[in-house]
């Protein structure tokens, strides 16, 4: 990997990260909202590193001619040998840089990628080409927020973090439907001894997940802790309304159906809601809870 290619790969990666974080809200499909400044900073650093690399490459003295400059670069990058012999083998034995690892069978010079690290700094590692892969994924697949496919993989959501339960829930006030996150609904349904949901109209926003049972479907939302890799599904079973197409974003207004028995352990059956009204809504900017 030549230095030019290194600079260009860095430029691509930094550009892609800046694109999803600084210029659009696509980063919300992958990480929590609070992550944005870190992403912008990281993207800017990577982008700047690419620019610096290209500028250095541009300015590199060409007077020695192209091929000799190859060696200049090689000796330059190997460092640790100021004025030394550019023969990796002998230097290795001299123990000039401890371990003598650069003295692989191919020697330390530019021709030998060797075991992956016995190389100089100007020839970048070949594995770095893989960094184009997330860039291609971001641009070509444009990965959407996790939806019904991911939600359907977990049969039942784990109970919400115990924090909310420990603090207890405020009683619900006001008339008319109360909008609440699905996580709060699940938490109140499972963890609230005062049964604050009983008889209240609530409004939940989420996407549609099909169920195996015929007259039930789920309204679901993925919850993130850090990034989409640790997302899990929060699901509420909807009764009393026909199922919209899978993955549609909907607002469900309805009333909690208390479980028939209190003996079921938490997390085995999703809480249920009897739908009064189901409306299609556009996908929220922040798709996760």
């Amino acid at each position: 990997m030549s230095r030019l290619a290194q600079g260009l790969v860095l430029l691509l990666l930094g550009g892609a990260v800046l694109r999803i974080s600084a210029f659009t809200t696509e980063y919300l499909n992958y990480v929590k909202p609070g992550f944005r400044p870190f992403l912008i900073a990281a993207g800017a650093v990577v982008f700047a590193l690419g620019v610096i690399t290209l500028v250095q490459e541009w300015r590199r003295p060409q007077d020695t001619g192209r091929e000799p400059s190859r060696w200049t670069e090689a000796a330059d990058g190997r460092g640790g040998h100021a004025g030394g012999r550019p023969d990796g083998r002998e230097d290795g034995h001299a123990g000039e840089h401890g371990g003598g690892h650069a003295a692989g069978p191919t020697g330390g010079h530019a021709g030998g990628y060797g075991d992956g690290h016995g190389h100089d700094h100007s020839r970048g590692p070949r594995v770095a080409w893989l960094m184009c892969l997330p860039v291609c994924a971001i641009f070509l697949v444009a990965p959407p927020a996790l939806g019904s496919f991911a939600a359907a993989r977990d049969d039942v959501a784990p109970p919400p973090p115990p924090r909310e339960v420990a603090e207890g829930y405020e009683p619900l006030r006001g008339d008319g439907p109360i909008a609440m996150p699905i996580g709060e609904f699940v938490g109140r349904a499972w963890g609230d001894a005062k049964r604050s949901l009983a008889g209240k109209q609530v409004r939940l926003t989420g996407f549609v997940v099909r169920s195996k049972q015929p007259d039930v479907w789920y309204v679901a939302r993925m919850q993130l802790n850090c990034c989409a890799a640790d997302a899990f599904a929060l699901k509420v079973a909807v009764r009393g309304a026909p199922a919209p197409p899978e993955n549609t974003w909907v607002e469900v207004t309805g009333v909690w159906i208390p479980p028939r028995s209190d003996k079921l352990p938490l997390g085995t059956v999703p809480p249920r809601i009897r739908a009064i009204n189901v409306t299609k809504v556009p996908r929220p900017v922040e798709p996760y809870e």
């Binding site: 060696w71 371990g99 010079h109 496919f149 993989r153 990034c227 989409a228 890799a229 640790d230 997390g267």
Partner: protein, 339 residues
């Protein structure tokens, strides 16, 4: 300085002269920018042309998780690479010999405890440990730092305390178990490890701005490439293995510890978030959750890829099983004593 080396190049080298890579550059140099320009156009146009067709749910879920792992790890990787480049290029080597105890057996626990000051996750610690080794720190001590720092730094401990409210013993157990594993692994490596297993990264003797940029570019490209390898593996397993399989084994004590330890390896969750995931696995015993928290920052798929890439495969093949065994064993004992 290097022009001299160029002139002194010995003719008797038995590598092929000219080496195979010699001819490559001349055609590539003018061509490459155009290839990349074409790629950028293809990427921008490709979104409009291709994205509507690449809609298989499994592919989309896979790529979302894959991109999420890469995107989430990148800031930490950049932080680690910045620190590592600063260590190799800006801090004089003599600093480390003065800062750490001279005797290696004493340096290991000191380096492990020093991990508490690096606020980051495991992606940051690999380049930093590599930079420390390059600066002449005993490899075993740098390894203790590598293992301890992602698990015992303040950010991670606060996250753990938030995820387990009213259970400070979980934070204590995580801190103690992680530090013990790190120190034990360092000592074992010191006693039994061989120099040829470990590829100690070489530091350039140059200092200053140019060396800083060169070190940073190299580390970032290298670690970034292996991060992608780990991201591919983690995303694939994440999509293929349904988590409901876990519920079945949660009841059996010793098996649940093993299962959560393996889950931590597979999921490759950032150590700053893993406490929340552990807390959500309510069916499992506290000891099993502790194993999840201790193993995760030390051994996971993206970390294995990063370590193999940075320190060599023969290192990873020995160090990863050692760490995994120690982590499971120590968390089982700690859980039994503390939780």
């Amino acid at each position: 300085m290097s022009d001299k080396a160029l002139l002194d190049w010995p003719a008797e080298t038995d590598d092929p002269v000219p080496p195979a890579s010699w001819g490559r550059r001349s055609p590539a140099a003018p061509l490459l920018p155009w290839v990349f320009a074409g790629l950028v156009v293809a990427l921008v146009a490709g979104r409009a042309l291709l994205a509507p067709y690449l809609t298989a749910p499994a592919l989309q879920t896979w790529s979302t998780i894959f991109v999420a792992i890469c995107v989430q790890a990148l800031p930490f990787l950049v932080l680690g690479v910045l620190l590592s480049a600063a260590i190799t290029a800006l801090v004089p080597p003599s600093f480390w010999t003065r800062a750490l105890p001279r005797r290696p057996y004493a340096a290991v626990p000191v380096a492990g405890a020093a991990g508490a000051v690096l606020p980051g996750c495991e992606c940051a610690s690999v380049p930093v440990a590599s930079g420390l080794m390059a600066r002449g720190v005993t490899p075993a001590a740098a390894l203790a730092f590598l293992l301890a720092s992602p698990a015992i730094n303040p950010v991670v401990l606060v996250a753990t305390a938030v995820a387990f409210p009213g259970r400070p013993e979980m934070v204590v157990a995580r801190f103690a178990a992680s530090l013990v594993v790190a120190v034990l692994a360092g000592w074992l490596w010191l006693r039994f490890g061989r120099a040829e297993w470990l590829r100690v990264p070489r530091a350039s003797s140059e200092r200053g701005w140019r060396a800083f940029v060169a070190a940073m570019r190299h580390d970032l490209l290298h670690a970034g490439g292996f991060l992608v390898v780990g991201g591919i593996a983690a995303a694939t397993l994440n999509v293929l293995v349904p988590r409901s399989w876990l519920a079945a084994v949660a009841e059996i004590g010793w098996l649940s510890v093993l299962v959560l330890a393996l889950l931590a390896v597979v999921l490759s969750i950032c150590s700053e978030a893993d406490a929340f995931v552990a807390a959500s696995l309510t069916a499992f015993s506290p000891t099993a959750k502790l194993a999840f928290l201790v193993v995760g920052p030390m051994v996971d798929l993206k970390l294995i890829a990063l370590q193999a890439g940075t320190f060599g495969r023969s290192f990873a093949a020995r160090f990863v099983p050692l760490t995994l065994t120690l982590a499971i064993g120590v968390s089982a004992v700690t859980g039994w004593v503390l939780l």
